[in-house]
């Protein structure tokens, strides 16, 4: 079943979406009926038995209960919820059992961005690229607090825990891009911990994988660094307009001294930037929390060089 955008649900983009939507809409209609009964009862009795001023106030009918009625309104809801339970359970199982041929991508959540590691060694930040029509299994874990991986269009969500793997899978139906949200509260940047899922045709995916591991090699270091600054999520915390966000602004800082929490100052040079990226807690800028994640293992040497060159160029 193919679903398109409706009042309540965004367009479904995965094979499971149709099944979730079917149950969702079953619940919507069943609820409308139930609610309708309650509303109709209220309106009808309210109008029919309304007491106006001046009417005689006589004792009312001594109805205390009615076993048949009470059984009816206990049993019908019971049947309904049993149906909903089994239906929901059935779809839930499908969401949990990964097809054998699923390809595996590793996901790391950390404050406040996502890293995706592909089988062939490529990695991306905040953009998950997957082939259409192939089941994809995500093996997820967090480096700090709990995050949650949510793609509304796919109707999948799973918490991403520190020190444990959790699994989620889906099969995207056709090419397109979808939003990816973090839905477990994780601090300052929680609402900007968003990314995209880009679904590409299978052939294109293979090509992408090949180039992904060495994109930018054709660019000048500054340009490459500019790209990385966005794609590796530096922008989430560093502004380039002199505003302090989570971290200090990085425009026009190169070559200038900066005060540290530990007392003392350092001059921002190539080495300091490199250290900031790899061991951010080593020297923390005064007035900021030590929350910058380490990029050890995420960035390759060439990428760090590019970033340094870029920051240097921001005079």
């Amino acid at each position: 079943m193919d679903t398109t955008a409706t009042l309540f649900l965004p367009p479904g983009g995965s094979t499971i979406a149709g099944e979730v939507d079917a149950l969702f809409y079953f619940l919507v209609y069943a609820s409308i009926v139930m609610f309708g009964i309650v509303l109709a009862g209220m309106i009808f009795f309210g109008l029919r038995y309304r007491h106006r001023q001046g009417d005689a106030a006589a004792p009312t009918a001594g109805i205390s209960h009615n076993t048949k009625l009470e059984l009816t309104w206990s049993i019908i809801p019971t049947i309904l919820v049993v149906i909903v339970f089994f239906w929901g359970f059935n779809v839930y199982l499908k969401m949990n059992v990964v097809p054998k041929d699923a390809m595996e991508i590793k996901v790391t959540g950390q404050k406040w961005f996502w890293t995706f590691d592909y089988p062939e060694g490529a990695n991306t930040v905040n953009e998950l690229v997957i082939p259409a029509g192939k089941p994809v299994k995500l093996l997820m874990s967090s480096k700090d607090v709990i995050h949650s991986f949510f793609v509304p269009d796919f109707r999948v969500k799973m918490d991403v825990l520190p020190n444990r793997y959790t699994i989620v899978w889906f099969e995207a139906k056709r090419e397109g891009t979808h939003n990816l949200f973090c839905t477990e509260f994780c601090g300052t940047g929680h609402s900007s911990m968003i990314g995209t899922v880009r679904v590409v045709p299978e052939r294109e995916y293979a090509e992408w994988l090949e180039t992904a591991s060495n994109v930018g090699s054709d660019l000048a270091p500054e340009q490459y660094g500019e790209r990385l600054f966005v794609s590796k999520a530096c922008v989430t915390c560093h502004s380039l307009e002199g505003k302090s966000v989570v971290g200090p602004p990085l425009n026009g800082v190169f070559g200038k001294p900066v005060a540290l929490t530990s007392g003392g100052t350092v001059i921002i040079d190539e080495n300091y930037i490199r250290e900031s990226i790899l061991e951010p807690q080593a020297s923390v800028v005064a007035g900021y929390q030590p929350v910058m994640p380490t990029y050890q293992g995420i960035l390759k040497d060439r990428e760090i060089d590019a970033l340094v060159a870029y920051i240097k160029s921001l005079q």
Binding site: S31, M42, R50, T60, G62, I63, H65, E70, N179, S191
Partner: protein, 535 residues
């Protein structure tokens, strides 16, 4: 013309000490009433700030960190300082002894201690706000709560202390109901509000200690790094969630059960009809209280708990829907062949039926495994719980306040303004929160300081709704306070109701009844009695 009795509990003794150290359950009820109203006001101001920030994407009013603190404080204040004590500690305290014909609760000193402990707990919460406040969400999930720089300790300590105030109230009520009833008032001749309080008290006593130990462990986690919940130390953050929800799911029924009790009173009084299915309603309160302990895992469907546990929790969750439905339909059936009038309390009772049904039915959505995976931690959940908590509990509370206001103060509020305020609240509420069902199912995550442009129109609409609601509450505040001194004297029984509290004067004397009352008719015998209305 009605008059105010010369000697009543309000003027029996004078001076602030006679209030702050009173042992009279009615005065303690009034103290609680003002305290929780203040908490509601503060929580409401935070709510308005939330809605202002969410008027449009990006920064409007505050930084992300500030926003995170604002919604945490909104949630924590509304839950721990307002809604948990609201009906039981304020209205329950005032009414329970009167409804069962007793002079006071079983342990008046414990009752006073409960209020003082509440104040102490609130002070810690305020200290926490002053010391940089908390940004964890009201759920304090680890490991975030163990590593954030904000003052989690004093807030959790406050919550720990507030728990005791809740336990004291519950313990007191159970004993009072068991031991202090008027001879002749058997269990099944008690007003249903008393049944509601009884079921609530059971949960308060059984569940709240677990909140206590959870908060203690969380504090130890922060100060001593004991590592039970901290994954870096071999602990398990999901275990924390079990601890938290073992309390906090039953707690949502601490919020709703007394509200349901009020609704039973209101519907039968304003339909002037015997309540339909008394026993069924009484037993379903107990059933809800019991089942509430079996379903906490439905908050954790995507937390990484085992699939088996999720499945069982989902199944048990649905069972709660059945006794709730029984109540709804019994209330409807009570209206059948009644003599219905639409004073403000009845309007709130009908709002309750309307809104709680929506809130409850959307709870069924969330209980369904596959659907909750999509809806969890989105605005759909936010809408669900505001529909049950505001649309359910707060509506019942407002209905109860208006219903018993003349009993507390001996004076009537302005019926005209009350109806206008009720209309504002009802319309504003639906504007604010119905939109959030749509937002949520569209994928808008909760606890977001900013959002994607596509959600903007609905968010803006929701914010406008919150202003409409605020106008309603401001009007209400004005006419209610005005009426305390200026209202028309109400007489003993302004609504013509049959429960015992209406047989004493308004306001009642210190020990509730001038003469020990006799149990002469059941609380809902409208087929035999036509009590006279005093207004």
């Amino acid at each position: 013309m009605n008059t105010i009795p010369e000697k009543n509990f309000l003027n029996a003794t004078r001076g602030w000490k006679s209030w702050l150290f009173t042992l009279d359950h009615k005065r303690i009820g009034v103290l609680y009433l003002f305290s929780i109203m203040a908490a509601f006001l503060v929580g409401g101001v935070f709510a308005i700030l939330i809605r202002l920030e969410l008027l449009g994407p990006g920064r409007n009013l505050m930084e992300a960190d500030t926003y995170n603190q604002v919604f945490t404080l909104h949630g924590a204040i509304m839950i721990f300082l307002f809604i948990i004590p609201s009906i039981p500690a304020a209205l329950g305290n005032f009414l329970l002894p009167q409804m069962i014909g007793a002079k006071d609760v079983a342990f008046p000193r414990l009752n006073l201690a409960s209020w003082w402990v509440y104040i102490l707990g609130s002070i810690f919460a305020v200290i926490s706000i002053a010391m940089g406040s908390v940004d964890t969400g009201w759920t304090f999930y680890t490991p975030y709560a163990t590593e954030t720089q904000t003052s989690v300790i004093s807030m959790t300590l406050g919550v720990f202390i507030l728990g005791f105030s809740s336990i004291f109230t519950g313990l007191n009520f159970i004993v009072t109901i068991h031991k202090m009833r008027l001879p002749g008032q058997t269990w099944f001749r008690m007003p249903l509000f008393v049944w509601g309080l009884y079921a609530t008290a059971i949960i308060q006593v059984l569940a709240t200690p677990v909140l206590g130990i959870t908060m203690v462990l969380l504090i130890l986690e922060r100060v001593a790094g004991i590592g039970i919940f901290d994954p870096a130390m071999g602990g398990d953050p999901v275990l924390y969630q079990h601890f938290f929800w073992f309390y906090s799911h039953p707690a949502v029924y601490i919020m709703i059960l007394p509200g349901m009790g009020i609704i039973s009173e209101l519907i039968s009084t304003f339909s002037k009809k015997r309540i339909f299915g008394y026993t069924a309603i009484a037993y379903s309160s107990l059933a809800i209280a019991f089942i509430s302990f079996l379903v906490w895992g439905h908050h954790m469907f995507v937390s990484g708990q085992s699939q088996l546990a999720a499945t069982i929790f989902s199944f048990l969750t649905f069972l709660v829907g059945i006794p709730s439905g029984i109540k709804i339909f019994n209330w409807l059936a009570t209206m059948y062949k009644g003599r219905i009038t639409f004073e403000t309390p009845m309007l709130y009772a009908l709002s309750f039926l309307f809104l709680f049904t929506i809130g409850g039915l959307t709870g069924i959505f969330l209980g369904a495994l596959a659907v909750d995976i999509h809806l969890h931690d989105t605005y759909f959940v936010v809408a669900h719980f505001h529909y049950v908590m505001v649309g359910g509990t707060v509506m019942a509370f407002l209905g109860g306040i208006h219903y018993w206001w003349p009993k507390i103060w001996g004076r009537m509020y302005s019926e005209f303004w009350a109806k206008i305020a009720a209309a504002f609240v009802f319309v504003g509420f639906n504007m604010t929160f119905f939109t959030q069902f749509i937002l949520g199912s569209q994928g808008m995550p909760r606890r977001y300081y900013t959002y994607m442009d596509q959600y903007q129109p609905l968010h803006a609409f929701s914010s406008v709704g919150s202003w409409v609601m605020a106008v309603g509450f401001i009007i209400m505040g004005v006419y209610l306070f005005h009426s305390i001194k200026r209202g028309r004297p109400a007489g003993n029984n302004p609504w013509g109701a049959l429960t015992l509290e209406w047989e004493t004067t308004s306001p009642p004397p210190t020990e509730n009844f001038v003469e020990t009352p006799k149990f002469s008719h059941g609380p809902y015998d409208y087929d035999k009695n036509v009590p006279e209305r005093t207004i």
